[in-house]
Amino acid sequence: MEDKNKKYVNEPWWKKEFKDGWWKEVSWIHPQDTEPSGVSLFIDYMLDKAIITPDAVKIASWIPHRLILLEIVHPLKGTERLSFMISPTSVTPGIPDVTPDVIVTYDYYDLAKFLIGREKDFTMSFWKGHSRIYGNLTALIDLADILEVALGKKIDEAKEARIKTWPVGYP
């Protein structure tokens, strides 16, 4: 018999996966009392994980110049913007001065899930429809390669995962 007193609440998926204080358990996030902003989360990851991984630096050197505008959308706090440049690499909060190759609109908790290693595929959020991109898909694949290799993926695996038409370094 159905319980008529039961309340049906459409709880967002991230509330189950991200308990309060989740960021305190991650070693590379700078200690803080409140949930880190999307920009600080990404910059911490780049400084403390990606840049110190030799393979990630190596694969970044093969990729042509890319300018990526990353929009991190927090379901409660709104949108933050971050300009990410590859070859040479730089990460700057805010929007870039020139037209980026691609604008990536990423869900905050999907990004956090990837950066802390619970999801191995950076692009999964796009395929399942949580996040979206506007512009050159190869630039997104390049970004995914750098970030995934920093998380432990082998360079050969990254090469094999690309379609034949767009090998690493394809403009």
């Binding site: 042509p64 595929d121 692009t123 999964m124 796009f126 395929w127 399942k128 429809g129 979206r132 991109i133 506007y134 512009g135 050159n136 898909l137 995962a161 690309r162 379609i163 034949k164 038409t165 090998p167 370094g169 394809y170 403009p171």
Partner: protein
């Protein structure tokens, strides 16, 4: 900057100009280097190999080394043969006839042959004209001479009104009588004239039912065997959908639609079935003939095509009246492949998913363009030979197939990852589908710009839009399983993406269709669209141009393929065209067309 240069430090304006020039040169050098780096990659593509065979030179070559050295129409053996034939006919009848020398000089243009994609066949453009290729005409005839009648209503009338018993034996007798009447035989009075059976040898009828027990009780020569024609997984779904109902498929003789009109096939099916009922059940002395006649001819009769609007004069079974979903259901290429959602297949094995695409989209890419060409290439426009060369772009030169290769690779490497989280389809939201479509269309446009030979093959804007619309629509439908999303993608790609990239689209109203198409793609109002599966060419904004219907048919098939459905809009139509007795091969249409190019195809309706 103005005035002569002076000694000392160069002015800032000049240095900044020099820096900009140096940066541009560096960019250009990098671009050239990249191009050299990626040429080996290009050489592996199907488009490179096929176009190299068609043109006999490097298809990426920007320079035509034989320019001004060709001999106009003399370079084509097919045209020269026609010229000689035209001369002989003119001498015979004393009136000038076919003579290519009256046409505009073609100058340096190469008259290239066509390579059929996926085969080694190289054929002349002339042999792919629908009047020269009898296989194409047979396809057209096989469709418009088909009518479906439901037998349950007349059976009920015979039982209730005429108090006669209907049993498997009487049905057998009725079907045997009907084979005689459909072939033009008389049953009511001996003194009437009969048609010579040699002229109507391709006329026959068969029944369809989803009930295996019932089918086994009836002579198996008179039924379409769903179990034999389809893979088990498909057959189960089709039989369940059709159920215990008995449908009669009538193929009127080809001579009927040739000598008169396709609407006669519809009427022929009704009247000959009524006569067969009267004779088989001995109803001549009963007072309920009108009931039997109505029940057989009109109560539940399915014409493939509805009449078109009045000014165009298309009647029943007209190609323009056939819903796009029906045309998609005629394609039988993948009938023997197991039924599964496309994402699952591509996640498992890219070669297998390419096989699915070859047999499904590849089959639609042959049948749909040829059929619709008869309407918008001839009945609508009056006929212009260039239109025949437009529709064959889906199965010649390897261009369309190459884009399908890339799409398959993309699906396998990227999009099919959603299978791991239990999804088979991407959400049907425009912002989720727009960027895959944009990237796929960018690949198509880049390829066309990179390959001068592809531009030469798809020389008209209309041809480029035809291919781009197809690729965009199929991509969106394969990802989402939604035919409406496919329509969004077609219209978005042509009316916005291509216009942004190339500033223009095709000629003859292509922009009108797609700009109207954007708001109309979601409309269910009849004058604006309706359900994508039930739309057709009998609609003012769908048919302005040749080939514009083909992407709208292909997206329906792609959506069904993505969902893992056994049919697109009608299980009946799917089964009706899975008949080994049909003259045209709906399972392997390209082989029939190749036979037609060589004069090896034997049409059954012309003895």
């Amino acid at each position: 900057m103005s005035g002569p240069l002076k000694k000392g430090k160069l002015p800032k304006e000049l240095t900044s100009q020099m820096e900009a020039t140096a940066a541009a040169s560096q960019y250009l050098r990098q671009a050239v280097k990249n191009m050299r780096d990626f040429i080996p990659l290009e050489k592996q593509r199907r488009i490179y190999k096929d176009l190299e065979k068609m043109f006999g030179v490097d298809p990426l070559n920007l320079i035509d080394e034989k320019m001004y050295m060709r001999k106009g129409f003399n370079q084509s053996a097919a045209i020269m043969k026609n010229k000689e034939l035209g001369r002989l006919i003119a001498l015979d009848r004393f009136i000038p006839m076919y003579d290519p020398s009256v046409s505009e000089p073609i100058g340096h243009q190469q008259l290239f042959p066509y390579k059929i994609s996926g085969t080694d066949e190289i054929v002349s453009g002339n042999s792919l004209h629908c009047f020269n290729n009898v296989a194409m005409q047979q396809l057209f005839d096989d469709v418009r001479r088909t009518t479906i009648l439901n037998l349950d209503v007349p059976h009920k009338v015979i039982q209730v009104r005429a108090s006669k018993e209907v049993t498997p034996e009487t049905i057998d007798h009725f079907l045997k009588t009907l084979q005689h009447t459909i072939a033009g035989g008389t049953v009511s009075l001996d003194q009437f004239a009969d048609i010579n059976p040699e002229l109507t040898r391709d006329a026959y009828c068969k029944i369809i039912t989803g009930n295996d027990e019932l089918r086994e009780l009836i002579d198996n020569r008179f039924s379409i065997d769903i179990n034999a024609g389809f893979h088990k997984s498909r057959a189960e779904k089709l039989k369940h959908a059709i159920g215990d109902t008995i449908h009669l498929v009538v193929r009127a003789p080809t001579i009927l639609v040739r000598a008169l009109d396709n609407s006669v096939a519809f009427k022929w099916a009704g009247i000959q079935s009524t006569l067969a009922f009267i004779v088989a059940y001995r109803l001549t002395k009963d007072s309920n003939l009108a009931d039997i006649s109505y029940a057989t001819q009109y109560a539940n009769t399915i014409a493939l095509g509805e009449p078109t609007w009045q000014s165009l004069g298309g009647h029943y079974n007209s190609i323009a009246g056939i819903p796009f979903g029906y045309i998609a259901d005629m394609c039988q290429g993948d009938s023997q492949l197991p039924l599964r959602p496309f994402m699952e297949i591509t996640n498992e094995d890219p070669k297998l998913s390419r096989e699915y695409l070859k047999k499904s989209i590849g089959c639609v890419g042959v049948i749909a363009p040829i059929l619709t060409n008869f309407w918008d290439g001839y009945q609508l426009s009056g006929g212009a030979n260039i239109l025949d060369n437009v529709v064959i772009d889906t199965f010649t030169g390897g261009i369309f197939d190459d884009f399908i290769d890339i799409m398959n690779d993309m699906m396998n490497k990227y999009f099919s990852r959603i299978v791991k989280i239990g999804m088979n389809l991407m959400p049907t939201r425009w912002y989720n589908l727009r960027w895959p479509v944009e990237n796929m269309v960018n690949i198509v446009m880049e390829t066309m710009e990179k390959y001068p030979s592809a531009m030469e093959t798809l020389k008209l804007g209309i041809q480029k839009m035809y291919i781009i619309g197809l690729v965009a629509g199929i991509m969106a439908s394969l990802l989402s399983g939604s035919s409406t999303a496919g329509l969004w993608a077609i219209d978005y790609a042509i009316s916005l993406l291509v216009k942004e990239g190339w500033c223009r689209t095709g000629t003859t109203g292509y922009e009108i269709i797609n700009q109207l198409g954007l708001p109309y793609s979601c409309s269910l109002r009849i004058e604006e669209g309706g359900l994508p599966e039930l739309r057709g060419m009998n609609n003012f904004h769908q048919i302005h141009s040749i080939g514009s219907a083909v992407p709208r048919i292909a997206v329906l098939y792609a959506a069904a393929l993505a969902r893992g459905d056994a049919w697109v809009s009608s299980p009946l139509i799917k089964v009706v065209f899975n008949d080994p007795h049909l003259s045209f091969d709906f399972k392997d249409p390209i082989s029939a067309i190749i036979k037609g190019t060589k004069g090896e195809f034997k049409p059954k309706g012309e003895s």
